[in-house]
């Protein structure tokens, strides 16, 4: 009985998304009837075919994948290295520098958007992959996350490896980083989701349809077909589905990531 109640509750939570899928299967005129139907009368996949071609999906998918992939790798590498230094090494000025890193979290994105745009524009990176990627390569939250996970690793492992003659780099790359794998996956997923949701920066730094990432392309699609809801919903499903699949597979790690972001989404 309780299980059923929980099941019904989950159904209520995802009802908007079920409706999205349902509308994406409708014919164009079905929504015009009153009252609007909840389910398609004659399910059709033609909206998907049209959205695939009109978005254009392959280009958008590729752009988003390239940007998210590069940012993922970049954030993991830089955050792991910096987090490792903060957690496992002793050097003068460490705490001061860590505090300075943390302090940059207080700068809101919108303050940085203008000077970053001028910088990227001056280098000639507007409307290119480097322009989309370069500003996102370091995440201070990622550094905090990696530092925490490195702090929790036992000292014995490090000492044993040192006795075996491992250098600093081997120690980090071969031993510590694999031990911190959960945090690495969490960070990678956070970076991936962040890039799939990023809107303001791609909106500003890209102009052509060729360089549009998923969110921007979807917003433009909305302006272009503002009344044809089945089209839009098909495009939305196409854009969202890959992210859902990845995040539901890595659900355990996404939950870990929730804690460090405070579950805040930049809406």
């Amino acid at each position: 009985m309780r299980k059923l109640g929980l099941g019904l509750l989950s159904l209520a939570v995802i009802a908007p998304f079920l409706y999205m899928v349902s509308v994406s299967l409708m014919g164009e005129s079905e929504l015009l009837r009153w009252p609007p139907p909840l389910l398609p009368q004659t399910p059709t996949l033609s909206n998907y075919a049209a959205a695939l071609a009109a978005l254009p999906y392959s280009k958008v998918f590729l752009n988003t994948a390239i940007v998210a992939g590069c940012v993922m790798v970049g954030q993991v590498l830089t955050s792991a290295a910096a987090g490792y230094a903060f957690a496992r090494m002793r050097f003068p000025g460490r705490d001061g520098i860590f505090a300075a890193f943390l302090a940059t979290l207080m700068l809101p994105a919108i303050l940085l958007v203008i000077p970053r745009f001028l910088l990227v524009n001056a280098v000639g990176w507007v409307d290119t992959y480097p322009g989309l990627i370069s500003t996102e390569l370091v995440s201070v939250l990622g550094i905090v996350l990696m530092r925490q996970s490195f702090l929790m690793l036992p000292r014995d492992v490090e000492e044993a490896a040192r006795l075996d003659g491992a250098g600093e780099w081997t120690l980090f790359w071969r031993i510590m980083l694999p031990l911190a794998r959960p945090a690495v996956i969490t960070l990678a997923l956070l970076a991936f989701m962040d890039q799939c949701r990023n809107f303001l920066w791609p909106l500003i730094v890209t102009r052509s349809a060729d360089m549009a990432v998923a969110e921007v392309a979807l917003a433009r699609f909305h302006t272009a077909y503002s009344t044809n809801w089945p089209y839009q919903m098909a495009a939305a499903v196409l854009v969202t589905l890959p992210v859902w699949v990845v995040c539901l597979i890595g659900q355990r790690y996404v939950m870990q990531g929730l804690r460090i972001t405070g579950a805040a989404v930049r809406l």
Binding site: G5, L107, P108, I114, R220, Q251, M255, A263, L267
Partner: protein
């Protein structure tokens, strides 16, 4: 080390000075080209073809206007030669200039000619640097085709107190190196050796040099242009009639020419309409004076302090570093170097893409009138009001999430619990535009029991509707955070309280909530921060309906006038004025958000320390 820093500073100073000299050379070359184009007469018309009278009179061909051939738009070569040679003999002229007709040099006939490629390149670039002189195209009389080129080679102007005109920077550099040598040989401390002072002196001296060169480049352009204009006033056709000021003004593109008073010959600085100008008085004809005004080059010199100061301070920092390396044992030194190596990628990125831009945003705001403009803008206050009202959803959603977490926590086992977790996660991981679109669809079709309402599009209800949407998007993730927090509370606490006979209500207030308090604050503050920066959903949904703070910055900077008007209009980019105002707004927003971001940072730091 000190010598290296001094050399670096000198090199930087020199290259900046060269920049100004080049800029001056380009300016004077352009002005010269315009002068030559104006004063040189066209070539004499070709002799009319002699028509032979035939025996058979053909019917007269209709008279067509002869199209002006490129040659007729060009110059009379002998007088061009005279004009060009005349430039060398102008009294008080400080530039070495060469005029090319086609590729052939006119002033110094033995000089090597240009290559045809040089002219072609000029056509596309509009001027370039070639073998130490500025080369700009000489257009024909209509300004259409390139018929030649003008080259100007800047001559160094001596500055500084020393004989030989080495400037201020060189003696200061000698002083700095001497100070460093004193430290090294007598083993003094850095502070007492006076080296830091000498290094700062070096920076100031090189700045003085740069400023002097910039100033003199403007002055030289003014005086040289004065000579040209005086020449032009006597030569401009038709001869012996009064030359009009507008004719002369056409010669100086990057300056302005206005009627003036008699004045001394040296250029001076004044503020014209609030903006700084460099001015020189010119006598054209008997008793007629005009003022030539231009933007003084030295107003851009403060930028270079950003480059000069660090390069001068490389010396003291390097010595500090060496001293530190001497003091510390080798093992510790090695660890420090490696640690810095690990930090370098992230640190450099933050420096270039976060701290640098933040500093630049502050710089963009100058002049401070931008702040005044923002504060006096009624739209500012409207957006603040809208955003503050919107952010009120955050406490509501956190309370709901906490309640939901407490309920779900009791029934967390089994497939139902797992399903609910996935369901709650879904809105959190969905793209924001998708959520916005789905809710707009629901709003427009009126399904799910909301009735056909169009809440999102009517001004009165748009804000509450947005809050509802944000609540939906956020509450799932927040519930999951609280669930994770509840699971970390040791069962023993709750069981012990239950044995003591505490009611469920009491257990919540006395045990659960205090243990969850840091997490609750963290969630609330994070939520507020993101609420105050809301952009995407408003941009997609309401097309500028209730203006939010970030919307306003976007509109100011990228000029989405009025409504945000669809995602297509992201091009353009405003002028520096617009960016200044947008930055002022963003800085005010940042300062206001410190109220939330500072305690959030504290919580994050504590979390990081205790983990």
């Amino acid at each position: 080390m000190a010598a290296l820093a001094a050399a670096l500073t000198l090199a930087v100073t020199h290259s900046i000075e060269r920049r100004y000299e080049r800029a001056f050379a380009f300016r004077i070359a352009r002005t010269t080209a315009a002068y030559i184009a104006a004063v040189t007469p066209p070539p004499p018309p070709p002799p009319p073809p002699v028509r032979r009278r035939g025996r058979i009179r053909r019917p007269q061909a209709p008279i067509t206007p002869v199209p002006q051939s490129p040659a007729s738009r060009s110059y009379h070569l002998p007088s061009l030669l005279t004009q060009a040679r005349g430039l060398r003999t102008l009294p008080g002229w400080t530039t070495e200039v060469e005029v090319y007709y086609g590729t052939a040099p006119l002033v110094d006939a033995t000089a090597p000619p240009l290559s045809p490629d040089d002219l072609l390149l000029l056509d596309s670039a509009g001027g370039r640097w070639r073998e130490g002189s500025a080369l700009v195209p000489l257009k024909d009389r209509d300004g259409r085709e390139i018929v030649g080129a003008v080259a100007a080679r800047p001559l160094r102007v001596p500055t500084g107190p020393l004989p030989g005109g080495l400037g201020f920077a060189f003696p200061a550099a000698v002083l700095a190196v001497a100070g460093a040598a004193g430290i090294a040989f007598r083993g003094r401390s850095l502070r007492r050796g006076g080296y830091v002072g000498a290094a700062l002196l070096l920076a100031v001296a090189s700045y003085a040099d740069v400023r002097a060169v910039a100033r003199s480049s403007t002055n030289r352009w003014l005086t040289d242009t004065r000579r040209l204009l005086q020449e032009a006033a006597t030569r401009l056709p038709p001869p012996r009639s009064r030359v009009s000021v507008s004719d002369l003004a056409a010669l100086v593109q990057d300056g302005e020419l206005v009627g003036g008073e008699p004045a001394e010959s040296a250029p001076w600085r004044a503020r014209v309409g609030g903006a700084p100008r460099a001015i020189v008085a010119i006598l054209i004809g008997s008793g007629r004076w005009v003022d030539l005004r231009t933007v003084p080059a030295e107003i851009t010199t403060p930028h270079w302090l950003l480059l000069l100061l660090p390069s001068a301070l490389v010396g003291p920092f390097g010595i500090l570093l060496l001293r530190w390396a001497e003091r510390t044992p080798a093992r510790k030194r090695r660890e420090t170097v490696i640690a810095w190596g690990f930090l370098a990628p992230a640190g450099l990125h933050l420096l270039v893409f976060t701290l640098g831009p933040a500093a630049f945003a502050v710089y963009l705001v100058l002049p401070l009138a931008n702040f005044r403009a923002v504060v006096h803008d009624p739209l500012t206050w409207l957006s603040i009001r809208n955003t503050a009202l919107y952010a009120l959803y955050v406490p509501v959603s956190v309370v709901i999430a906490l309640g939901a977490a407490l309920v779900v926590h009791r029934f967390r086992v089994g497939w139902g619990g797992r399903l609910l977790r996935s369901a709650l996660l879904l809105p959190y991981v969905t793209s924001v535009v998708t959520i916005a679109l789905v809710w707009q669809l629901i709003d427009q079709t009126g399904t799910l029991g909301l009735g056909r309402s169009g809440w999102l599009s009517s001004p009165a209800t748009a804000l509450p509707a947005l809050m509802l949407l944000a609540l939906y998007a956020q509450v799932g993730g927040q519930t999951l955070v609280f669930l994770a927090g509840l699971e970390r509370i040791p069962r023993a606490y709750v069981d012990a309280a239950r044995v003591d006979g505490a009611s469920a209500w009491r257990r919540f207030w006395r045990i659960t909530l205090p243990l969850l308090r840091p997490m609750t604050w963290f969630v609330v503050l994070s939520g507020l921060l993101s609420a105050f920066q809301v952009f995407t959903i408003v941009f997609v949904l309401t097309q500028g309906g209730p203006g939010m703070l970030v919307q306003r910055v976007y509109q100011l900077g990228w000029g989405g006038a009025g409504g945000a008007g669809g995602a297509g209009g992201a091009g353009g980019g405003g002028g520096s004025q617009a960016f200044g105002m947008a930055s002022a707004f963003a800085i005010l927003l940042c300062l206001a958000l410190v109220l939330f971001s500072w305690p959030r940072l504290k919580l994050l730091g504590r979390d990081a320390r205790h983990a």
